[in-house]
């Protein structure tokens, strides 16, 4: 029986359900000291003085360090010239929460006491938090050497004014895709232990090899002296692939103090110190004909980078503009973008990273076209879809060639599951009943770019390469270990990769172990991000397993005195086709693989071990159709999601249980962005949503149940035919929810509402539109 496609229960669960998992803060080596940062209370200021005398006099305090102690070390890696981020603020602080000093003490309570006793005097400078303010002529400049807060500009070759003017009608939309925080439930944590010449860093991180590569270089030590371990990682969502000061400082603090040093962020620290996501503003113009055909689309993107340009942050608008046209055949598409620094926490990847922003805007535009033409939103989608026989489909950007899909079929399935016509009828019946809640239904036919990827796709974000590594090793008893360069944080690699290897090798699932997350045991790896776990890393496991099987068959054929091509592998044994009872167990084959006297002459001993680096010729393009039905209370503006339908196409599914779990989680974050979450600042640059009291992460009563459907168009560009699923929900959900709310409010003349759509916003719109 094939395990690929089966609902297999997870190998990860027993340890995580019994409290025997290992997260970084669970580790406490002997003599472990604790680091605490002193962070800026100002958004933009000159650091006039730092007085650590009182802290240094406290019992249990080991030391205090500032930028002055780091002069022989470079700034954090990956920055642009003149715009690098110092490890600890040097003279100037550029966002509230920026680390200025670090104290090490015997335990976390004493470290917190000491940090509170450090006196830093600031001379305030004017701060800017929004793109509009940052680009104003009189705006304070964050990096005087750069002279402007605009960091990169990619203009368009053609503004499409001519095409827009030729259409029957045109419309404009100004969309704010607000700043969000990833909020993995485990905040950043790391533990460094420097012993003589070697350093080990445990970090809650999505890409331990990426970190090892940069850390060794930053410390100027050989990579063999620098081991990075990502143990169990408590969620990431993109926020754990970027360079935080603690990852580089902790090893030095351990070296300087001669003790292991641990840092574990509090949530309030994490809310301002972990990178934020989204924070784009779009100005969109669309030209269309009376029949709803979209002829031209112009998208101008402004990206708020926060205080320091992060390589991933700089890439966000690239991905947004690549995916600007979504799943529609739009003859003329023009995109441009600029990136801008402000006195806020740096912005980088957050689940979807640039693609939720694109999908949201184009899906809002399609609904706007439906409104202006008087057509049903489902019909406008149908009239503009790229057809299922149009793949590979070349888009407005040469880097983006859609692989496969069936957008009309996904929408049909979605409309069926939500019972679209019945909802529309109910909506019409309620419209004139002042006591009944308003009903709205929203659709989102979304598409994203995933499966990073092809050569060059991750190098642009500072990664070593874009392949993923897998190593498969058969033990002498015929059990197998799979080593992956992709280190997970909840995705279930131990399970899905074992399913893939089990099918390929014919070795039982229970006899396959999957390992990752340690640079000492996996030679090189890239990481888990960009929905690449299954399409890229899983494909690597499949390819490596296939090569092992080829050699194992030679050994089995030799032992059985049979022809290789007559062998089939199943249930931990090699069987000769057509000769019942003639077989040899995987354990015998594995045992023989280490015995030269039992091997065919062309095979050396120990050949049942394979390492490969899986490349992909193209990205993958997961897609889907989501529908949301909301009810809105007319007197309070309260929004309730009544139905949430999710039809996904992630290509071949390895484990439907885990795939559905990924979709649910992404959708929850998408709904949260649509209705609840926003990272906000006051005019002075003080964050006003920097705790879980103020930043509204939804809990169980805030979210609906989900109705999941699926269509499958396989990805032609990897051996599994898989497209990736990690980001899908977060890409597709916001537009479905917002389109539903706007639909419910259509009777009040509402054509757009920016996220998060709070009851207050809805109430005000209803009051104004009455």
């Amino acid at each position: 029986m094939s395990l690929v496609g089966a609902k297999v229960l997870r190998k990860e669960d027993p340890r995580l359900l019994t409290g025997t998992g290992t997260f970084v803060d669970d580790l406490s080596p002997a003599r472990c000291a604790f680091a605490q940062f002193v962070t800026s209370t100002e958004a933009h200021a000159r650091v006039a003085s730092i007085d650590a005398r009182a802290a240094l006099a406290m019992d249990g305090v080991v030391g205090v360090w500032t930028a002055a102690d780091l002069t022989q070390y470079p700034d954090l890696p990956g920055g642009l010239p003149d715009l690098e981020r110092p490890v600890l603020a040097r003279n100037i602080v550029r966002f509230a929460g920026e680390p200025v000093a670090v104290v090490v003490a015997d335990d976390r309570y004493l470290a917190a006491d000491a940090a509170a006793a450090i006196d830093i005097e600031y001379q305030r400078l004017d701060a800017v938090t929004t793109i509009d303010r940052a680009v104003a002529d009189d705006a304070p400049v964050l990096f005087p050497a750069h002279s402007s807060n605009v960091i990169t500009v990619v203009p368009t070759m053609d503004d499409l004014e001519r095409e827009l003017g030729r259409c029957d009608a045109r419309a404009s939309l100004h969309v704010v895709n607000q700043r969000c925080a990833a909020v993995p439930i485990e905040p950043m944590a790391c533990l460094a232990d420097w012993r003589r010449d070697d350093v080990t860093l445990w970090a809650t991180f999505q890409a331990p090899h990426h970190l090892r590569n940069y850390l060794a270089s930053w410390l100027d030590i050989a990579q063999v002296r620098c081991r990075v371990i990502a143990p169990d990682v408590g969620g990431g969502f993109g926020s754990k692939i970027v360079w935080y000061p603690e990852l580089f400082l902790a090893p030095l603090l351990s070296k300087w103090t001669g003790r292991p040093v641990k840092f574990a962020q509090t949530r309030s620290e994490a809310m301002v110190q972990m990178n934020h996501g989204r924070d784009q503003v779009h100005d969109i113009d669309v030209g269309f004909d009376r029949d709803g055909t979209i002829k031209a689309l112009r998208m101008v993107v402004s990206q708020n980078l926060g205080a320091y340009p992060d390589p991933t942050g700089l890439g966000l608008p690239v991905l947004t503009t690549w995916m600007a046209a979504g799943c529609y055949r739009i003859p003329k598409v023009s995109t441009s973008f600029r990136t801008v620094v402000t006195n806020t926490t740096p912005v980088a990847a957050y689940r979807g990273a640039g693609r939720p922003e694109a999908a949201y805007s184009v899906e809002r535009v399609v609904d706007l076209v439906a409104r202006r033409t008087g057509l049903d939103p489902a019909e406008v989608r149908r009239r503009n879809f790229i057809g299922p026989s149009s793949f590979p489909y070349e888009t407005h950007n040469e880097a983006v060639v859609y692989d496969s899909g069936d957008f009309p079929a996904a929408l049909v399935e979605c409309l069926r599951l939500v019972d679209y016509d019945a909802v529309r009828a109910e909506q019409a019946a309620r419209r004139d009943d002042p006591d009944a809640p308003l009903i709205g239904v929203g659709l989102s036919s979304w598409l994203e770019i995933a499966g990073f990827g092809p050569n060059g796709s991750l190098e642009g974000f500072g990664h070593l390469a874009s392949w993923e590594s897998a190593q498969v090793r058969i033990a002498p008893d015929g059990s197998a270990t799979v080593f992956s360069g992709s280190s997970p944080h909840g995705q279930g690699h131990e399970t899905t990769f074992a399913q893939i290897a089990s099918d390929e090798l014919g070795i039982s699932f229970d006899r396959i172990d999957v390992r990752f997350g340690d640079t000492a045991t996996v030679i090189q790896g890239i990481g888990t991000m960009g929905s690449r776990g299954v399409p890229t890393s899983g494909s690597a496991v499949k390819s490596a397993s296939a090569r092992i099987l080829e050699r194992a068959k030679k050994i089995a054929a030799h032992l059985l005195e049979a022809a290789e091509e007559d062998l089939v592998v199943a249930d931990d044994a090699f069987h000769v086709r057509g000769s019942p009872g003639k077989n040899v167990g995987w354990s015998d084959v594995a045992w023989a693989s280490f015995q030269p006297l039992r091997l065919p002459p062309e095979l050396p001993a120990g050949s049942l071990e394979e390492r490969l680096f899986q490349e992909s010729p193209n990205f993958s393009y997961p897609s889907g159709a989501y529908a949301c039905v909301v009810e809105i209370d007319r007197s309070t503006g309260r929004i309730d999601i009544r139905t949430m339908v999710l039809v996904d196409d992630c290509g071949r599914v390895i484990n439907p249980l885990l795939a559905e779990g990924q979709v649910h989680g992404g959708v929850a974050q998408g709904i949260a962005q649509a209705l609840f979450e926003a990272m906000e600042y006051d005019e002075d640059g003080q964050p006003v949503t920097a705790s879980l009291l103020d930043y509204l992460v939804p809990s169980a009563p805030d979210l609906p149940g989900y109705i999941a459907g699926r269509i499958v168009t396989e990805c032609p560009n990897n051996p599994l035919g898989a497209k990736g699923i990690g980001e899908s929900g977060a890409v597709g959900a916001p537009a479905a929810v917002v389109n539903a709310v706007v639909d419910a409010l259509s009777g009040f003349g509402v054509e757009h509402v920016d996220m998060p759509i709070t009851p207050e916003k809805v109430w005000r719109l209803m009051a104004a539109g009455r």
Binding site: L9, R10, E12, D13, P14, R15, L16, L17, T18, G19, T20, G21, T22, F23, D25, D26, S28, D107, R108, Y109, A182, V183, P184, I185, E186, P187, D232, V233, G234, G235, F237, A264, T266, R267, S268, H489, G490, Q491, G492, L657, L658, E660, G661, Q662, H664, G665, G666, V667, A668, S691, L692, L693, V697, S699, A700, P701, L703, G705, Y706, G729
Partner: protein, 161 residues
């Protein structure tokens, strides 16, 4: 140490008597003194519930209590759960069967909160489950499968049920 006090807390059936800093939070007493690291910390405002344990059978947030406040009382952590499912309790088995966890960081708190719920309401509705878990945040699952997990546990208190 600011001021040392003696506390005696029964943790998972075993009495632990220690001299601790008077300001030690219960969660740090469990994690750092008892070395029971299954109970996690995810926030500092009592919102996330990753630190949920049972105090005399009732689900509480161990980051919001000083260890000294529970002197003489009985605490159960995720490490103390046992049951008929190959050593797992029904709630743990429900989470396994229904994919009620992904990264696993919030999971011990979720499992303890659900255990507390089923102790007082053996057959909760979906809405009751969602309300009972409102103080526990999960960023991975979107909650549907957590709700399914708790329902599974309610329907299968013993294997074969």
């Amino acid at each position: 140490m600011a001021r040392s006090v003696d506390v005696s807390i029964t943790v998972n059936g075993r009495r632990a008597t220690r001299a601790i800093d008077v300001r030690t939070l219960l969660v740090h007493f469990l994690r750092e003194h008892e070395r029971l690291t299954g109970t996690h910390v995810g926030c500092d405002t009592s919102n996330c519930g990753a630190c949920t344990v049972l105090l005399d059978g009732e689900a509480v947030k161990s980051c919001t209590l000083l260890a000294i406040q529970v002197d003489g009382q009985d605490v159960t952590t995720v490490e103390g759960l046992t049951g008929p499912y190959d050593g797992f309790g029904a709630v743990q088995e429900g989470f396994r069967q229904c994919h009620g966890l992904q990264c696993g960081y919030c999971t011990p708190g979720m499992v303890m909160a659900a255990t507390g719920l089923l102790a007082t309401n053996a057959d909760p509705t979906e809405a009751e489950i969602r309300m009972a878990l409102k103080g526990n945040m999960c960023r991975c699952t979107g909650y549907q499968m957590i709700v399914d997990s708790v329902r599974w546990a309610a329907e299968h208190p013993l294997p074969g049920d």
